[in-house]
Symmetry: C2
Subunit: 193 residues, 2 copies
Amino acid sequence: MDADAAPRRVRADAERSTARILEAAEAVLAEDPTAPLERIADAAGLARATVHRRFSSRAALLDALAAQLAQRYVQGLAEARVDTAPPVDAMLRMTETAFALKLAHRFAVQLTASMTPEVQGGLDRLFARLREAGAITAPDPTWGRRVYLALLHEVNDLPADSPMLDGDDLAARAGLLVGTVLRALGGVWPPAR
Amino acid sequence: MDADAAPRRVRADAERSTARILEAAEAVLAEDPTAPLERIADAAGLARATVHRRFSSRAALLDALAAQLAQRYVQGLAEARVDTAPPVDAMLRMTETAFALKLAHRFAVQLTASMTPEVQGGLDRLFARLREAGAITAPDPTWGRRVYLALLHEVNDLPADSPMLDGDDLAARAGLLVGTVLRALGGVWPPAR
DNA sequence: ACGAAATGCGCCACCGGTGTCGCAGTTGAT
DNA sequence: ATCAACTGCGACACCGGTGGCGCATTTCGT
């Protein structure tokens, strides 16, 4: 919502600052969603005034951040081929990328703005496909999405030495989450054969 | 932490104000955990200064509230006989009382202070007993507790007209939650017979 | 090398929420 | 009925965070 679509050209310099600010904001706000702008500025190695120059207000910064995150999720959804691949595979892939974005998670969802209708829709379609494929029995995709998101945070917060985890890699967490969600929604996991 | 154990007597009047404040705080903060004291005072029909007279600071009020809530949970745990009754029954009862306290939920847990070690312990013992009884297979009670709490909020937020609910009564929500959690943790629900 | 543009820095105004005080009026205990 | 205690109200100081300048300095584009 700021510093884009330029009739007047933006200096390469400035554009880098913008990126650094977003990066710093992501890191700082992940730990404390109410952190003052000054802390973000410090983390970015910039003066607070400069942050104000790039983003007219705190709200504008949050918006930009939310948009950026939403876009990453959309991309993740696409790369996981949620609409075409076997749904369980897609879910596993999507989940791994979600954990890779973990820094942002806690506030990414609290920041409901980042739960774009587009992202929601993608997830809902995924749960609908899971049901069609017989991987779950719960009929309501919305409910599936809610359960998934709620447990996503829980698994993300799980300490690395939890007995529920084999190692701390993404795959272990993704496996735990997917299994838990599928079972919760009436599926069988691991699949009986 | 305020206005109790009196060497000097407290007027009945004042005690009622305290109660009204706590009541109002619970209601207001459930909707907006960061609501200013003034909003609470208004809801209680009192002046902000009066709130300050009963509770020396915002933190003190929050503490008192957390203590009150924790105590209710402990009582709920006891009444559900989590340590003696058949664990699934206990879980069902506990869950219903938890929903009865729903107004407070969202911030009750965010207010980690109210998640007393006592409450945590009670839940952990419940999940250990569930495992012993074969109702779940997940070995780690902590994980069970986390899943339970996370989904508790989700079910609580579920709109009354959700396809997942038969009516909006406590029993429907409790059933959905218990079933989902037991399945998520590797149990069978509804029980095959 | 030059000008345009972005930066750092300090300063100030503003806002919302918190906490304190005193005073006048009301309510409760005995 | 009387006194003590509590209340409502308004005013005030304080604090942290936000947002806006202006100016001297650095950095980028060409």
